[in-house]
């Protein structure tokens, strides 16, 4: 399903931080993982993902390193820094509050 871009603005950062909160991943893996977990509802766009990853890395929220993937090919893995972990937790809480508030407004809080 194609979502209104307005709804998705600001979600890329939350998605990246949430995914990386569990383990290090490389770009392609993040796209696949987001797609898998959302049952293909979400598809991180490559053109959005890579600039966002570089931005977060330069902001000190992510760190990266090259290492061999499971296939044996080297990949650039991203992980959270201490600052990134704090931000991930803060974003997660904010997102939960926003989504709870939205559910209340939409009238499906018992769904």
């Amino acid at each position: 399903m194609e979502y209104d871009r307005e709804f998705l603005t600001g979600t890329v950062g939350v998605l990246i931080l949430s995914l990386l909160n569990e383990r290090e991943m490389y770009g392609y893996e993040m796209i696949r993982e987001a797609e898998r977990r959302s049952a293909s509802a979400f598809r991180l766009k490559e053109g959005t993902l890579y600039p966002a990853l570089h931005h977060l890395e330069r902001s000190g929220i992510l760190k990266s390193r090259w290492r061999d993937s499971d296939t044996g090919r080297p990949r650039k893995y991203y992980g959270l820094t201490a600052k990134g972990r704090r931000q991930a937790e803060s974003k997660r809480q904010q997102w939960r509050q926003i989504s709870a508030a939205m559910r209340s407004i939409l009238g499906d809080s018992h769904a």
Partner: protein, 251 residues
Amino acid sequence: MPEDIDAFIEPIVEAARIPSRRRRDELRRELRSHFEDSGLTLDAFQDAVARFGNAARIGQSLRQVYRRDYVLVYAVKVGASILAATTAAILIEALASLRLGTGPDAWRLSPGFAHAASFGVVVALALVAATEATRAPFTWPRALVSTACYALLPACAFALDSNIAGVFVTASILAAIGVGFARTTSGWTSRALLTLAAFAVFEYVLHQSLGIAFSPMRALAAGAVLLVLWASTITIVAVSDRAFFSAFRTT
């Protein structure tokens, strides 16, 4: 297939304007590995390209990320141009002020050297500022920053010496003439001759209007010194430009 991947990636890397070669290589490598993960068949490549979206837009987004580095390197380039141009201006004025004679002080500088050197430095600064302000493609922010930085100099210098304002006005007019001729005329010879004539006429008219005796031959000689200063400054700016842009070239 690898050629197709490179053909898609290179414009993104180039548009990103990342000053560090290591980071550019890393971005290239990262994007290439993404396409390898997507699959190396033609269909897989075309799908991946479609998902990536507009290459120019991705390059623009990455450029925003690395903008601070770009601005910093640009400032270093302008600083280096200024240092080289002002040093050259002092040397040129020293050569023009050199007086040869006999005896113990056979080689000496004329009494007006200090004034000529400071004037030469201001002309070089004005030329660098004018070149930056009018650089193609023209942008208002760059023009305003260049003009404001140049305008700060007389404001600071005026606090020290109230007579300095005239020097800056004169240097600004000369820079406008120099950059104007550098932009509008083609061919080095015609450009140099026209600029020399314009400088000489300006020097002559300026001195006449101030009531200072100044022969046409002296005006021509003063114009020739300014011409050398103009040529050295625009050459220095051009060389630093070439070095700057080659630092971002990806191929």
